[in-house]
Symmetry: C2
Subunit: 112 residues, 2 copies
DNA sequence: TAAAGTACTTCATCTGTTGAAGTAAATATA
DNA sequence: TATATTTACTTCAACAGATGAAGTACTTTA
């Protein structure tokens, strides 16, 4: 089985998280499950990677946090939600552009 | 201008170098020029990145070095050439496979 | 009542990349 | 012939993101 190394995905963990937050605010556990689902289990983000990304991105102004004690049905644990900021959107867009370039560049060194 | 961040290309510097060594042995300065040419100047590998990659890959058994005092016409400076090993070829092949997977995974989070 | 799932946090360590700086020979240019 | 540029590296310290290990604690399911 082919596995994705951390050195490869490194530059795109933030992008993945932001792409999920584009739709609506979410929290760690939920985001990690979504990433797994979206990639059909091909990529599972590590907890520490995820939470350190939150800290970093909040510091960079790409996301903002807020706390929710219970969900709307009164269930679940206390959660820290994150919402994407305007800066975060811009950063995400720039990462998408960068990705197109990266794809082209790397592809030139891949044997088909 | 879009630029490729080091966090993104991190996992593929070794792969790029190896793909060049697949054809014939080469040395640092030449390889860096080739990477620039192949990517139409879109990616320029840093000297320190390149030479530290050599050290690492030789340690890992992916490449072997040998010294050449002058080129075949008797020109140029002393150079350290590298040749890819069988292990290096295998590693390169596995990186190509990994790349196909990575492309698919990242693409799912990119807005088109 | 125990196990599994949810939802994190802290911390030390690792690895590849990088900037700064330096060395020195070969070649091109004035 | 003197100078600038190109070639061809090397050393070293610093940095940032990823990660494993470990821990906490509440909630839901069996």
């Amino acid at each position: 089985m082919v596995e994705i190394s951390s050195d490869v995905i490194r530059g795109y963990n933030d992008t993945m998280i932001l792409s999920i937050l584009l739709l609506e605010p979410s929290y760690g556990y939920e985001i990690s499950k979504q990433i797994k689902t979206i990639t059909d289990g091909k990529y599972i983000i590590k907890e520490t990677t995820l939470y350190s990304a939150f800290t970093r991105m909040e510091k960079n102004g790409f996301i903002e946090s807020f706390t929710v004690e219970k969900d709307m049905e009164g269930n679940g644990k206390k959660r820290t939600y994150y919402r994407i900021t305007e800066e975060g959107r811009k950063y995400y867009e720039s990462k998408c552009e960068e990705w197109e370039l990266t794809k082209d560049v790397v592809q030139k060194f891949i044997r088909r």
